[in-house]
Point group: C4
Chain length 287, copies 4
């Protein structure tokens, strides 16, 4: 039988404040890094496609401020998965994120897809990312999400070796669980494409796969996943990108989603670090 990773379920905790369900708003602050990292392995040097660079930068200039204001309005703390190179390029903006009390987690250094790197290359990406977040923001990340959501066996091994508390790259459940591979295990706070803003809104000359969703369909889809979450009193992670969700009409849609959620149930918003603390069992490798 071909060897594949396995999973171990975790019991759902009682949510703080008698909440009916728990949510996490997470943001992958890719900015230019996704394109620059991709350019290393492709013919196009995207650093010279000024338009693409500007679209990526939009997440920093417009997306983050709007997101910070919205989170403040709703009293929510979010988790910002930040490539090290993004922190180095935009230290002030990211320091505002930290100052507002949000969590900073690891999202590679130059957002290089792990499958394009050997073990040493992956290690360098991880260590440089940690260093950049520590040096620039004074933060040591305890959680990780793989660039493009691609985790390999080497990534898994390195996350354990480097002492990460949790990972948020896998999709094997919609509740926190333990991902296991080759005798190692890590606390998994799962994500999924259907609650990621890119498959709904993403579009550019090279990789957009569909026209931008209309915002009503988007709200309906994400509200639908919330209703399932509420019914099961479980947890739900939304994955967003400041350059995607940060566009004007999409921020209005996100605000509408948060209002509708607020009006329909007693929910608690947790950063991924807070969630990890609530659900993590003793004795797994990643702790």
């Amino acid at each position: 039988m071909i060897k594949v990773p396995t999973a171990r379920p975790l019991p759902l905790p009682t949510w703080p404040d008698s909440a009916d369900a728990a949510l996490s708003l997470t943001f992958d602050v890719d900015a230019e890094t996704g394109w620059l990292g991709y350019s290393r392995f492709n013919e196009i040097d995207y650093s010279k496609w000024l338009t693409v660079m500007s679209d990526a930068r939009y997440g920093i200039v417009r997306g983050i401020p709007r997101i910070l204001a919205l989170l403040d309005q709703f009293g929510i703390k979010g988790t910002f998965y930040t490539p090290g190179a993004t922190a180095e390029r935009y230290p002030e903006v990211l320091r505002e994120v930290v100052a507002a009390g949000h969590e900073i987690a690891h999202h590679g250094h130059l957002h290089i897809r792990p499958n394009l790197l050997d073990r040493d290359g992956q290690r360098e990406e991880l260590v440089r990312g940690i260093d950049a977040l520590e040096t620039t923001l004074g933060v040591t990340p305890t959680g990780y999400r793989a660039p493009a959501g691609i985790m390999t066996p080497e990534t898994f091994e390195l996350l354990v070796e480097l002492g990460f508390t949790y990972d948020s790259s896998c999709m094997g459940d919609d509740r926190p669980y333990i991902e296991e591979y080759e005798g190692r295990s890590i606390l998994e706070l799962p994500s999924h494409w259907s609650t990621d803003d890119w498959p709904h809104f993403g579009w550019n000359l090279d990789s957009g796969t569909a026209g931008p969703a209309d915002q009503d369909a988007f709200v309906r889809t994400w509200m639908g996943e919330f209703e399932s979450t509420l019914e099961e009193q479980r947890h739900l992670t939304y994955v967003m990108h400041p350059e995607v969700i940060g566009r004007g009409y999409r921020m209005l849609a996100l605000r509408e989603l948060l209002e509708r959620i607020r009006d329909s149930a007693n929910v608690i918003y947790l950063t991924h670090a807070e969630l990890a603390e609530l659900v993590a069992p003793a004795g797994i490798d990643s702790l």
Copy 2:
């Protein structure tokens, strides 16, 4: 004239219980097999893309239990097209499916697309799949659906040779009929992309062709096909994948669909084996 397969229509039976129409809920339990089978013929070894593996596994961990609960709630028996390797990897979950009275049918062993294999390779896939289902679940499948819906002349010949009662890979009608090729014939219980959940919801880095449909559009589309079915008092097969339909908000959509169908007509749900028995004429090869 280039030789192509042909079809022979069958009369619609009188549905049991004076039902106005008949429906079959079918589930392709691909889990990791689709990716692993694909890796044999491509450069990427998906067994090392842990994220992809986890998304595939979701169908087993979350999809199947939700599906079993929903079918139980509505008193419906479904047909689970199960690759042999899935049964070997998750025997307990599949035994629960059997124990709940659902049908197990054949869906390849490692979900290898038949067009990628020669006759011997296809034969091995079929025989190993049968063996795995018999050994693991104690079930001998009488029906078959080709992985990725790709049936070749060799597949057709082998299905007849191995004595399958029916096939559910072709799309030449929306009522049961006889598919004919090279003098052989088999009872066909047809499927179609428009009543398959993947073209509506499927998305991943490599092959998603559109953003996830919103659930209202999905329910409307499938409800529309049901209305046509009801008008013609025919049969309708829905094709689903536990890792696709099994996501939270999609299961709510499926529940809504089943409720709306229940409220609008007197329908009967049949497994494909039950349907085959109702409609099959005597004397075709596949019987």
Copy 3:
């Protein structure tokens, strides 16, 4: 300046029966030919992909009968662009189309994209298509629509040489007009992707570009183009494929569209041949 084709507008006629606008329902009866023609120039031999063949055949088995019934119900005569090889393979079904008073027009012989053929190859496709329609159906087509909508300079020249009255491959207007190239001209009864069913509903493993549209969005889009047509008192051609529009829920959508059109204005339905007669000026090459 790079040489490109040009256009000459035509005055809109007064519609018969004091109609406010005129519509044409057209059907490209591709059946298996599109796949078989494509296989000549590609590695995959689709005649061996039995599932694909069966999906294509659906248009004949289910699509055409439903379409004939619907047209009869509304008292509409349509235009069926029929590849010669389709007529040869399914002469009885196409004879029913003729017997019901609908127009048969030319759509290649094996539906080979003209750009894949040199002038001789294109000539053969055209002549074989004419022969097949004459021999099988006793009909000499006066109009043409290029397979996949790809008309080349050779096609244009051959249409004029062979004495076709009109073409329906181009998209340079939404009213009948004269398409001109290299001193030749032909009466053009234009089509467009947005009023073609394939971009809305088409999906298969190889070329579907989006999940199937939901039928409400489809009706809304086509109703919108009708409203524009009505406002301008012009003509509108809908392009459909029996294997695409002929699916159950889509036929219900088409019926709804025709009902809504009927309820909102006094329109006249014309075959393309009837339209050509109404609008064609004297002295163009194609007459």
Copy 4:
């Protein structure tokens, strides 16, 4: 750190006439040029795909007249980004645009993507485009939008060297700002894919990535961005193509959008040249 372009924000001006927000309707008059320019670097000679040529020409024959009538009805002056070769091929139509008081801006000569050209090639495209607009229309463009939205370092340098007042290729903000690169700067009047009609409606055999959006979803999306604009009292640029938005049902949707905007706020429509004058600071290179 990899060198990328940067941005400098500009203060929002007080809008004339006490308007709550400002909008610009812009049209990229590609016509055949996009296909012809593309053919220079690809195997297919699109000048011989007569259907594609006719679809492109539709923007001139049908799109522009409808757009001019609509703008006149609403008393709006727009900005027409016009490739030089389009002006040369259709001088009369473009002169009508000028005569109606609209702005003509630069959009390359043969709509060749800048990344496909070296510095000399780009210079030639820019200079030929300017010459064509001056010679044919008597207009010297002061603004530029890169074909396919691809601006390279060479383009940036040349825009400054040739004295352009503003650029509208980048996406780094949704308010006018200063784009900076290698010590140069230019006034940027940004655009974005989500307010571009192509990702919503575009479809053809070669590059359509999704079926045509239904017009309600389109209006909802663009109205959503307007609501965000109004809330922030900022500026918004819509990007359209006459061959895309100019289709009948899409023009009805655009009209509905303009009506809904008119009914919901006091907005002012500015050409990009007017906007540039309002917001441009002294002393940047591009002035």
